[in-house]
């Protein structure tokens, strides 16, 4: 429904642009865990929490011309750049969206400044936040062997989660 589309557009307005589908997936998930009012349903997949609903919603927004998706080649691989379009900006100005702009903007900008690899780690740690700290690290290490996260990255992850929760 349109309010949920508008929230993704508000995210792109706050961040100006997001580069990479994985990064966008993780930003929305972490935002949701920080009680930003995103509604997308997530399940656990290869790179951690993933929302099919968000993937489809991005396609819909592109189809409606409200956001742009640009496929770019960089160092032998490609990535997607998402931005709000002119029509999207105009749509958002008129849309009566209930959105905590003051709280959301610094959180989303901070998340967008991180690497996709780090956001994958943080989102996976948050996925298991019902477990103890040691159990979370064991589960992440078990499920993400190929990423080979170092102890200092886990430490950085915990600190970052704490800083986000205090914002």
């Amino acid at each position: 429904m349109l309010p949920d589309h508008a929230k993704i557009m508000a995210l792109l307005e706050d961040t100006k642009e997001v580069i990479g589908r994985k990064k966008l997936q993780k930003i929305v998930y972490i935002g949701k865990k920080l009680n930003l009012p995103f509604q997308e349903k997530y399940t656990f997949r290869m790179y951690g929490p993933y929302s099919e609903e968000l993937t489809l919603r991005l396609e819909e927004l592109c189809g409606l011309g409200l956001i742009t998706e640009c496929k770019e080649t960089k160092s032998g691989y490609y990535q997607y750049r998402y931005e709000l379009s002119e029509d999207g900006t105009s749509f958002l100005e008129k849309f009566p969206l209930d959105w905590p702009a003051e709280r959301a903007k610094p959180v989303l900008q901070s998340l967008n400044s991180q690497s996709a690899r780090f956001l994958e780690l943080v989102s996976t740690m948050l996925y298991f936040d019902h477990l103890s700290k040691e159990a979370v690290e064991a589960r992440v290490a078990e499920l993400k062997k190929s990423q080979n996260y170092r102890p200092e990255e886990f430490e950085e992850g915990w600190e970052y989660i704490e800083s986000l929760q205090n914002q």
């Binding site: 429904m1 349109l2 949920d4 589309h5 589908r21 994985k22 997936q25 509604q39 349903k41 399940t43 656990f44 997949r45 290869m46 790179y47 951690g48 993933y50 099919e52 609903e53 993937t55 489809l56 919603r57 396609e59 819909e60 189809g63 409606l64 011309g65 691989y77 490609y78 990535q79 029509d87 105009s90 749509f91 008129k94 849309f95 589960r139 078990e142 499920l143």
Partner: protein
Amino acid sequence: MTMPVGNKKLPEEKVFKDPVHRYIHISDELIWDLVGTKEFQRLRRVRQLGTTFLTFHGAEHTRFNHSLGVYEIMRRIIEVFEGRPHWNGDERLLCLSAALLHDIGHGPFSHSFEKVFNTDHEEWTRHIILGDTEVNTVLRRMGGDFPQQVADVIEKTHPNKLIVSMISSQIDADRMDYLQRDAFYTGVSYGHFDMERILRVMRPTEDQVVIKATGMHAVEDYIMSRYQMYWQVYFHPVTRSAEVILTKILQRVKDLKNEDYPFKYPPDHFESFFRGAITLEDYLDLDESVVMYYFLMWQKEEDAILQDLCRRFMNRRLFKYVEFDQHFMMNEWLRLQQLFADLGVDPAYYLVVDSSSDLPYDFYRPGEEEDRVPIHLLMPDRRLRELSRESDVVEAISGKKRTDHKLYYPSEVLEEPGQEDTKQQIKDILHLKLGKIER
């Protein structure tokens, strides 16, 4: 892994007659006892396709039938895998239990329900498997950590990715059952594919199920079935209309509760959902027969909106729709909302945009850089190739339009006498600007 302590065979095999798979075979005491738990029996009272029975009258089948079907397909996949590299026979009961219980947390009309009450059936699946339930008691006979392992497979967080992919991937036991079962019960002619052939060409690898290249055409058929079922059944606009009304009923009840409205028929079974403090017992007590009872009674409520929405749902007086696309943008929609309000029709309940992303089904899409693991073909030289790179048929439908939006509204209010000018303006927006015919 050692053989679980509670692994016993039944004295003789039990069978369920099934219209899709002919027979469902049970030889393990564990599986038989899980089927007999009250939490599994509850699935008889939760329809597999929610409101689809209002479009296809045969679609009255339940999560119970489907769960048994997924179990049966899993059992047959395991038969194919026995003795092959990467397959560990000790995981058999874990796979069968996960297949049988994968939908145990579904509630009544769960898609609409989850949206309004912010619940998650996957979370309830975990609670039912790990909590104080009959299911948990039966599973624990296999060892203390067995329930947790089953929950992890269903949640896709089990470290054995092969097992996870058998129940949840682009070609898994779950999808292969629901496509065939939904086609059978809706009576549509699409949705059929050669499952026997697919089962014969499935091969286990270290981290996923792959398909022998010689079975590509059977998989093409499966992908086409999925594509057709998506548009013809799962996305049917009439079903979506019923789903919109159902969601709005639940939304209205929630809003009335917040306003301390004096219900003639108080929603006692929903109380803990309003408070956001749902116990396992509350959750399990709410099935579709309970929800339908309330809808029946709320037709007699004083609140005009709740009464009207319930009458619409019970008597299949659904909303009409028009396509909502890029030619029908924000200005018109906001204006329509104002015009509906001018008529005294609350647009929050009677003017609804429904999008493809609001539905819990998806197409096959090649994985690219995303989280979805695509279907891989095992080539004669042992290399793996993504399906759409080998199949022209799959490549052709992979890039097709996969989204749409519809605007639902009660058309009959536009035909009643009075406020002709306002109604004409609404009709102009709905029919003329769009250049589309009202359905």
